[in-house]
Symmetry: C2
Subunit: 332 residues, 2 copies
């Protein structure tokens, strides 16, 4: 069978995860990587073809991708790269700026429809799998609210966005932020209260901060605790650690979460659905989901579909290599 | 908005659940019930139009259903009713005889394609939601096996099929069977062993049996323990109880389950996904899922699709009443 030719756009944590994931999906092959810093990437991966992202005619000809997996950042890269790449090729991305998804969908949809490509946006685990589970929970238990909790394990879950926010503070040399779900909040949901939470009711935030020499602990703490949106609404703890301690004890990208919906069926019988995921590496897990969606994008494109799609618009069978016969026989 | 006109075919536990569920889904209305025992049903529901299942021209004219939800038994009713009703109307059913699903799919597909109808088969929680979660687990974590466990709670989950099997034994007046997951087996899966289980490694079976007067306890016990398929492969316990005790302590249709897949992403990082559901009433939960699929069936029919579908063939957005705009804005 002809393999699906996948190109990676932007090589950071998720890009790395996509490369590794493609190695475990025998129906796909990595045909090349494009980056704004091709030297950096070429040095890391001497055996993989790497080209400059701007050399559109070059990579089109050299890589002939069926699907491009966009691994740029949601804040600055994807809003520009998404609609741009949708002109040239079928795309998949993990755009996770929740409040901007409608706008991003519209931009990509216009570009992809005009060029006749398929663009699957905002997939990964949240948005992505969790979006799907929330929608299923709401559909199968009418009246139930769907909640997302993060960082249920002992260590909590590393939040990249909040870690980045800490690192913008003057005096902070390095930092990582772990999110913790509040167990009592989960219990209230499980009991079927369907509570109206403020963000601070569901999660706490734990910061590990390495200071620059001579920086003022109290000033940094104050800045963190009063940061609107990021930390002000939450019970936040700030711990100062050495760079070595940060690198050894708080390394990696572990994350985990719970999507949950609780309500009643028919004659006042309790009904509860919970989706739980635990990832040793958040970007690798995101990458795995992106790769499965690349398979779906190729299939949708093969049906001459075009425009923007989310995980909610795709029949689940499109994510697997399994045939209808195999699915009916072994997976139903 | 015009409501989706739903007809119930066959009125037992699931049929009752569908009636109650329709009351909670304002985009649908119950237009009538057809049954092989219309008097029985009419007596239970004096305010609902009920007709004989055999009066095809009659119910077609009186009810004009958009979708028929087939609530007959999987063993004897659906193999006949499914392909028959697919001739007349769009259908949804919860056919759960796993090994016969390929055959059932083919029969219904042929009938529905010939008549131009949509037939969604084998949906509910298992097959149904669990099928979906197994496929997603396998697609997002390549190499992970997907497992289904049932009866994780203290009381276990009531198995209708196994209760029916007990009631066929001479000397048994009434009986109910509760399935229990084996916690150690779940722990092995969680640890990432991806074990090859025999059925008896995953579950135990607990029987509560009311004997007929004068029946022989030991003979009944022996018959149960040696029943191939149903009980012989499992660690099974048999408890003899009075009818009163059965009716009071072991009533209702509670069930629960866990679909789980464990593997690794990229660079040897653990990855685990778990879908857990806990139903106070199994037939009501099944009914809720059937009703959401009736919405999807109506929508697929509106797109002039035809033939057999499973949950794996349907974009998840089709299960909800939410518009694309609402989904993008609040549910991603
Ligand atoms: N939906 C979800 O569940 C989910 C989960 C996790 C992440 N995400 C999204 O995924 C996005 C990417 O995450 P990420 O962790 O991969 O971000 P990242 O490591 O910062 O990479 C983002 C981009 O930055 C550039 N870059 C990376 N390392 C660099 C370096 N050393 N020097 C210069 N440039 C470098 C790369 O572009 P060039 O190669 O072009 O330089 C890369 O595409 C996030 O913004 C987030 O929105 C979504
Ligand atoms: N996929 C899943 O997750 C899932 C879960 C649960 C159940 N199921 C399936 O759903 C099917 C139906 O389950 P159920 O619990 O609703 O079965 P049930 O109560 O035995 O009803 C099955 C049929 O029996 C007839 N019936 C019911 N009560 C009767 C009575 N008192 N006297 C005479 N006839 C009666 C009804 O047909 P008439 O009205 O025509 O007489 C009804 O359609 C099961 O076979 C199972 O396969 C699937």
């Amino acid at each position: 069978m002809k393999k699906i030719r996948v190109m990676i756009v932007g090589y950071g944590n998720v890009g790395r995860g996509v490369r590794l994931s493609l190695g475990k999906n025998p129906d796909m092959e990595l045909v090349g990587i494009v980056s704004r810093s091709p030297e950096r990437v070429g040095k890391e991966l001497p055996d993989v073809p790497v080209m400059a992202i701007s050399d559109v005619e070059g990579w089109k000809k050299a890589f002939r991708p069926d699907v491009a997996i966009l691994c740029g950042g949601s804040k600055n890269d994807l809003p520009q790269q998404g609609p741009e790449f949708a002109k040239y090729v079928n795309t998949v991305d993990s755009f996770d700026n929740h409040s901007r998804i409608p706008e991003y969908f519209a931009d990509i949809d216009a570009a992809a429809k005009a060029s006749g490509h398929v663009s699957v946006i905002s997939t990964g685990w949240d948005p992505g799998i969790f979006s799907l589970e929330r929608v299923l929970g709401g559909a199968f238990i009418p009246g139930a609210r769907a909640y997302g909790f993060y960082g249920l394990g002992e260590k909590g879950g590393l939040s990249m966005g909040h870690s980045d926010a800490l690192r913008t503070i003057p005096g902070v040399k390095d930092a990582r932020q772990f999110t913790h779900a509040i167990p009592e909040a989960i219990e209230r949901v499980r009991r079927g209260e369907n509570p109206a939470f403020e963000p601070g009711d569901m999660h706490t935030r734990e910061c590990f901060v390495v200071l620059e020499e001579g920086a003022d602990r109290e000033a940094v703490t104050k800045t963190i605790l009063s940061m609107p949106g990021y930390f002000a609404p939450y019970k936040t703890t700030v711990n100062f650690v050495s760079q070595q301690e940060l690198d050894e004890k708080y390394k990696g990208f572990p994350h985990d979460g719970l999507a949950i919906a609780v309500g009643e069926t028919g004659d006042r019988h309790a009904a509860r659905v919970e989706y739980r995921c635990i990832w040793g590496s958040n970007p690798e897990a995101t990458a795995n989901v992106l790769v499965a969606h690349a398979r779906a994008a190729a299939r949708l494109a093969g049906e001459n579909r075009s425009g923007a799609f989310t995980i909610l618009d795709i029949p689940p069978a499109y994510f697997t290599t399994l045939s209808r016969e195999e699915l009916l026989e072994h997976w139903m």
